[in-house]
Amino acid sequence: MGLLTFKGGIHPPHAKKATEHLPIVDFLDPKVVEIPMRQHIGAPCEPVVQKGDYVKVGQLVGSASSFVSANVHSSVSGTVLDVKKQDTAYGYDVVVIIENDGLNEVHESIVPQPDFNTLSGKEIIEIIKNAGIVGMGGAGFPTHVKLSPPPEKPIDTIVLNGAECEPYLTCDHRLMLETPDLVIKGLQILMHALNVPNGYIGIENNKPDAIETMTKAASGTGIKVVGLRTKYPQGAEKQLIFACTGKEIPSGGLPMDIGVVVNNVATVATIGNLFNTGMPLIERICTVTGKGIKTPKNIRFKVGTPVKTLIEFCDGYNGTPGKLLLGGPMMGVAQMTDNLPAMKNTSGVLVFTPEEAKLPEPSLCIRCGKCVSTCPAFLEPIQISAYALQNNYDKASEYNALDCIECGSCSFVCPANRPLLQTIRVAKREIIAKKRK
């Protein structure tokens, strides 16, 4: 099968060499975990434990307050030190701080689920919902919401994102190499739940070993493992679906509009593990890397482990850190401090040196049009950005600013270092605000 891809995109340096061959190492005994009540897109959870309570591994500590929300569970056993507000990647928010007693006592509710083939779709989705599963690729969208399309939108295809197109990150790569069966099982569970005939796993061809391993694991299941051309943003939802199925999500639409559900491989592996052991989403793998880190690693950690602790586990900073990102360098979010918890959607901790962190000096646009030819959404970033800078958001909207997927290809490729995506984001916010009025 030839390599599949989308139109547009860029070729940033992969920067994966430092960690792609490193097996996942466990760091499962943090002294303290700080579990945020909001680790997902949607409403924050209500804490259901108090200071002084003893909690066990897998016990519910925050309960979802609405449909678009996701439960959070304790990742360790121990005593709740406090329930208070502190810095998180989503802002100043409520966290449950638990001192780990190191005993890893598992909560009574954690028992292996029955064979998924005997369960109905509704029951499976309920189990996933209770386990607080969210999109682990970075966005953190509650998975049960994705799996609950309205009846008029039947789903026939599930696409797993194993592209890992962000430079530096290798956690999905290692996950596919080391636990391919969990990925396959998770996907089979979802295909059964939604009664879907087609399952795809898209993997960029800079990970030939992962393609091979997954193909082997998928043999006999009917699941198709597809090699994708290594190009950013190959793992963007719309681009991934196009590459795998040749279908375009209508402008302004969702994957379900064309009968597709997309999930990250890590999310699905967690679902596989959930049905094997009953354990909700309390640990995940992330890549701690960058020139600013002494010993880059792929780490399996407990949700709520302070980022600072993960960095210490990698022998600390390599000199003075210049920039700290949660996620990859293209779409990751820069943080002001390392004093915040790693969460369900923390796929990477990337540290730049001060030299790498230097902000580029923008110069005049030379109208080279590279942003236009690279935009995977087929927009004209040059125009949207120019209108945004003039506060002319109506015009920015005419140029389809809302179709921007914020992949950052335009800013990356711009020879004049224009803040293209940054200004387009401003336009998007203004346009949405105006629509709400």
Binding site: I249, P321, M330, A334, F352, R367, S411, P415, L421
Partner: protein
């Protein structure tokens, strides 16, 4: 933690491409043909090239100083403009002419409209058009190759006027041992430069390919399928230089793919119309300038289909 972390909007990495590198690549791509011009027309050609480059850089610095904006002479864009203008002049022009031309290109066409990226016409071509209009005799006096002040028509001039002199061969036109402006004669070296720019990703084949293709096809048809004349029309005039180096000017060409197609074909048609039916033997300059002016309009009507939009 003690140190201060930089916080900024994603993406956090940038390509290593810069405006300076792009303009330097264009300069590099022009050099072989320019050097051949000096070989072909003698040291006076070098003087003219140097004068036009230096005065373009000086004009850039001066006008940026007056405009109180950062002086960016080191970005090579003024070098490109000066070099292109010099290559578009006959070797016999008086030495003050390149200075006037460069000053006009940079101060009036480029900086007065906002500087780099804001010129609505190719500065070097606009300056050339101004010079032709103002000093028509100086701008159309051709010196025979490596001969002393013997006036010699350009190839296209010979074809147009039906002069009773031998028409140069296709090989001469390809190598560049023919009459014409300093830097336009060697089609081969200009093509080499063009290929370099495409290889480096500075330009795409779309504009030059369609422009040259349109000229070739139309000429072939109009001349009653005369291969010799068609080849000379493609190789001997300013078409190769114009198509690869002037029509592809970022600021004055459309940014959409569809727009570039319309723009390139438009230039091809206008060039052939001027050459075949107009008053001048050569139509490359005016065709590019005319299409430069409509480029914003073309962009407006060729917005790309958004991903997931109606096909």
């Amino acid at each position: 933690m003690e140190s201060r972390l930089t916080v900024s909007s994603s993406p956090h990495i940038r390509s290593t491409e810069t405006t300076q590198k792009i303009m330097r690549d264009v300069t590099i791509a022009l050099l072989p043909a320019a050097a051949f011009g000096v070989y072909n027309f003698g040291l006076r050609a070098l003087t003219i090239l140097v004068l036009s480059i230096v005065s373009a850089m000086a004009a850039e610095a001066l006008s940026q100083k007056i405009r109180k904006v950062p002086i960016t002479v080191d970005d090579f864009s003024a070098v490109v403009t000066g070099l292109l203008l010099g290559m578009n002049l006959p070797v016999s022009v008086p030495l003050w002419l390149p200075i006037v031309g460069s000053a006009f290109a940079i101060i009036i066409v480029k900086q007065a409209f906002g500087g780099l990226g804001h010129n609505f016409m190719n500065p070097a071509l606009a300056a050339r058009a101004m010079l032709v209009a103002s000093w028509p005799v100086e701008m159309t006096t051709w010196t025979a190759v490596k001969a002393d002040a013997v006036s010699s028509a350009t190839t296209l001039g010979i074809l147009k006027e039906g002069l009773n002199v031998p028409v140069p061969s296709i090989t001469d036109a390809l190598l560049g041992t023919i009459g014409g402006c300093i830097g336009e004669t060697s089609a081969l070296l200009l093509l080499l430069g063009g290929i370099y720019l495409i290889y480096r990703g500075v330009i795409s084949i779309r504009i030059p390919g369609l422009y040259i293709g349109t000229v070739a096809i139309l000429t072939f048809i109009i001349t009653g399928f005369d291969v010799q004349t068609t080849m000379l029309h493609v190789l001997a005039g300013g078409l190769i230089l114009g198509a690869f180096f002037m029509a592809t000017d970022y600021a004055s060409s459309p940014i959409t793919a569809k727009g570039q197609v319309i723009y390139a074909i438009g230039m091809g048609v206008i060039t052939v119309v001027i050459r075949m039916y107009g008053g001048y033997p050569e139509g490359v300059s005016y065709s590019i300038l005319l299409m430069n002016v409509v480029a914003p309009l073309i962009d407006k009507y060729t917005k790309p289909r958004v991903f997931g939009g109606a096909k």
